[in-house]
């Protein structure tokens, strides 16, 4: 607690004997109280957020109960609301984006951290940071004008031709849909994975590499078998940061996903995501139940993120116990 002064770890032999008043005057105590309040505000905001979502969605939760997660009709006129197509769309697009972004991002990070000359690495890092800072609506525009026509004219017909026997690559090719949304998301999250993974790889102690090399390992062997496992926790961290962004992304997704609440195996089909439907319908939702259902969707997205984050933590704990030392980022 902020008021108990005895728990403050003493900074030196003198600090312990100083009175509360003198420390207050010198700023230690003030700094501690202020920073504590800042830290506490994070917890407070999270709790308030959940409370608000829970409270405001209450009538919709009571009306639909568990059916909200099982049904897939979303009809604002006749007030039937089911969240399944949105949950499906959110998970599918996030999964596609990670499938593409993880190998590309980690590969690029390894090159930048281990193999590229420092000058090249630093220059590229500048561009990557720039990419990470581009507003998502810009990626959406890029998606509409470049990715969508490319998908419709070349990529989707090619996939249909070669892999059309799979249910994922069937049906009409509009250019928009799950696959396009996943690809645009991948482009958006790759900079995060590269940037964080590169930092983590660079922070692996030099003697780890030297030890591996001195045992006769090649450059690649030392990178792949020693450096990357050493940095595993941090790399996972970058992936989960990317996942969080992919789950919550709104603008870029709504511009290319097709905004149709339907579940279909084909990745060419238009779909919908939770964040997109909230952004699309919230301002013009006139019925109370419609608004509440959208708020409940917000709660679902929160829970989804929470569960996936929990998994992430478990995974990091599990892998770091099994393997070598842990890298902290």
């Amino acid at each position: 607690m902020a008021t108990t002064t005895t728990t403050v770890p003493s900074a030196g032999p003198v600090a312990g004997s100083r009175s509360f008043l003198s420390r207050l005057r010198e700023g230690d105590e003030i700094a501690r109280i202020i920073t504590f309040l800042f830290a506490a505000s994070v917890v407070l905001v999270t709790i308030l957020l959940v409370f608000e979502l829970w409270q405001d969605s209450s009538p919709a939760r009571h009306k639909f109960g568990f059916d909200f997660f099982r049904t897939s009709v979303w009809d604002p006129v006749f007030e039937q609301f089911g969240a399944l197509p949105f949950i499906y769309g959110t998970l599918v697009t996030a999964a596609i984006s990670l499938l593409i972004a993880v190998p590309l991002g980690i590969g690029a990070a390894i090159f930048l951290a281990e193999l590229a000359p420092a000058r090249v690495s630093d220059t590229l890092e500048f561009f990557i940071d720039l990419l990470a800072a581009v507003p998502s609506v810009i990626y959406g525009v890029l998606g509409i004008f470049i990715v969508v026509p490319l998908m419709r004219q070349y990529i989707q017909p090619a996939l249909k031709h070669s892999l059309g026997f799979l249910p994922f690559f069937q049906g009409p090719t509009y250019g928009i849909g799950f696959l396009t949304a996943g690809i645009v998301l991948a482009i958006m999250v790759i900079p995060y994975i590269i940037s964080v993974s590169r930092e983590v790889l660079l922070s692996v102690p030099r003697d780890q590499r030297e030890a591996a090399l001195s045992l006769g390992a090649t450059r690649w062997e030392s990178t792949w078998k020693v450096v990357v496992p050493f940095a595993r926790a941090g790399i996972f961290g970058s992936i989960f940061l990317a996942l969080a962004r992919a789950l919550g992304e709104t603008m870029a997704v709504t511009m290319v996903i097709g905004n149709t609440p339907k579940i279909s195996a084909s990745l060419f089909s238009p779909g919908y995501s939770i964040a997109a439907v909230i952004a699309n319908e919230f301002t013009e939702a006139t019925g109370d139940l419609h608004t509440q259902a959208l708020i409940e969707l917000g709660l679902v997205l929160f829970i989804l993120t929470f569960i996936l984050n929990g998994f992430a933590r478990l995974l990091i704990v599990a892998t770091s116990q099994r393997g070598s030392g842990t890298a902290h980022v």
Binding site: D75, G175, T254, N259, A279, N280, E284
Partner: protein
């Protein structure tokens, strides 16, 4: 430290004083996005004429406008669809007096398409439009479309339907029209700012709908008339209730309102889709200001009444430059009368 704090106080005081002097009275409103360009022009012009009055309008959407005026957080609201009886009742219960609708301008939806090889203006019957949006008419050369377009070589391609993804007044007008011309649409889908679309792709905003139509061969969708005019988009004629295929233009939209004006209810909550009259374009609508009937602040009341009066007279001259259709004279007269009941 003290000096900085003192300086800050002085700056705040000066800034506050300047703001106070600049606008003696600020009125806030919120709501519909569709008429926002018009409203912002009006509020700006009116502010030039009355420097002491500032009208601050936030285009947060019609749903938001209705909610905020009901909550009492804004002085007036604005909506593309009239408030329903339930919403009016909840306003009355909360405040003890009513909220009034005042039509400001007119908007219309037009059917837009992209069929490779077809450059002429197509004619659409209500049956064709409903059939396409219900997913019953799936090919461009369907007799329901080809029948009213003799001599046009329509391809046997699948129609890709494009609609708005976000809740919007444009969608409200479109679905209101479809509900009027088709019993099946009314019972299956209904009207609203967002509906459960039987078929099609959802695109966000007029820009996206237009972009998707432009980029997707054999597509069909709807956009606001203003948007089609400003972007030179080709769009089709629609058969009105008198059986005439008519193109959406500012004149034909105003004609639709004039046709409806004769039976205008006193509360102005009227839908003018499928309006009577040979020259009336059938997919049009008013957009409304939502003004409380009673104000506790007399200065605000007089300011709002003054603005509405100006908007109905001089204000209407600004509409066509921004591609909004004017209110017919009958409606203006009726509104001026209704304005007197605001106290």
């Amino acid at each position: 430290m003290k000096r900085i704090a003192g300086l800050l106080l002085v700056i705040l005081a000066v800034a506050g004083g300047v703001l106070w002097a600049a606008a003696a009275l600020t009125i806030t409103g919120a709501g519909a996005t569709f008429p926002y360009p018009m409203y912002s022009k009006w509020f700006d012009e009116y502010h030039k004429k009355n420097p002491n009055l500032e009208i601050n309008y936030q285009s947060i959407g019609s749903g938001g406008g209705i909610k905020q005026v009901t909550e009492g957080t804004v002085d007036f609201g604005a909506s593309d669809g009239p408030m329903n009886d339930e919403q009016l009742k909840s306003y009355q219960d909360k405040h003890g007096f009513a909220v009034l609708h005042f039509p400001t301008v007119l908007g219309a939806d037009v059917p837009a398409y992209n069929i490779p090889g077809v450059t002429v203006e197509l004619n659409f019957t209500p049956e064709a439009i409903v059939g396409i949006f219900l997913g019953k008419i799936t090919k461009w050369n369907d007799p329901a479309i080809a029948g009213s377009n003799k001599g046009v070589a329509l391809p046997a391609n699948d129609i890709v339907v494009v609609h708005r993804s976000e809740g919007s007044g444009t969608t409200y007008i479109w679905t209101d029209y479809l509900s009027k011309v088709s019993e099946e649409w009314k019972t299956k889908v209904g009207k609203g700012a967002s509906v459960n679309w039987p078929v099609g792709l959802g695109a966000k905003g007029n820009e996206s709908v237009a972009g998707t139509i432009k980029n997707t061969p054999n597509s069909f969708g709807y956009v606001e008339l203003i948007y089609a005019i400003q972007n030179n988009m080709p769009y089709g004629r629609v058969k009105n209730s008198s059986g005439v295929f008519i193109k959406a233009e500012l004149a034909s939209v105003t004609a639709a309102a004039a046709g409806a004006a004769k039976n205008m209810p006193d509360d102005f909550r009227v839908s003018i889709t499928d309006a009577p009259g040979k020259t009336a374009y059938p997919i049009a609508s008013f957009t409304w200001l939502l003004i409380p009937q009673k104000f506790s602040d007399a200065a605000k009341r007089d300011a709002i009444k003054g603005f509405v009066k100006w908007m109905l007279a001089d204000g209407q001259n600004y509409t066509e430059a921004l591609a909004y259709a004017k209110l017919p004279k009958e409606v203006v007269t009726k509104e001026l009368k209704a304005l007197n009941s605001v106290q």
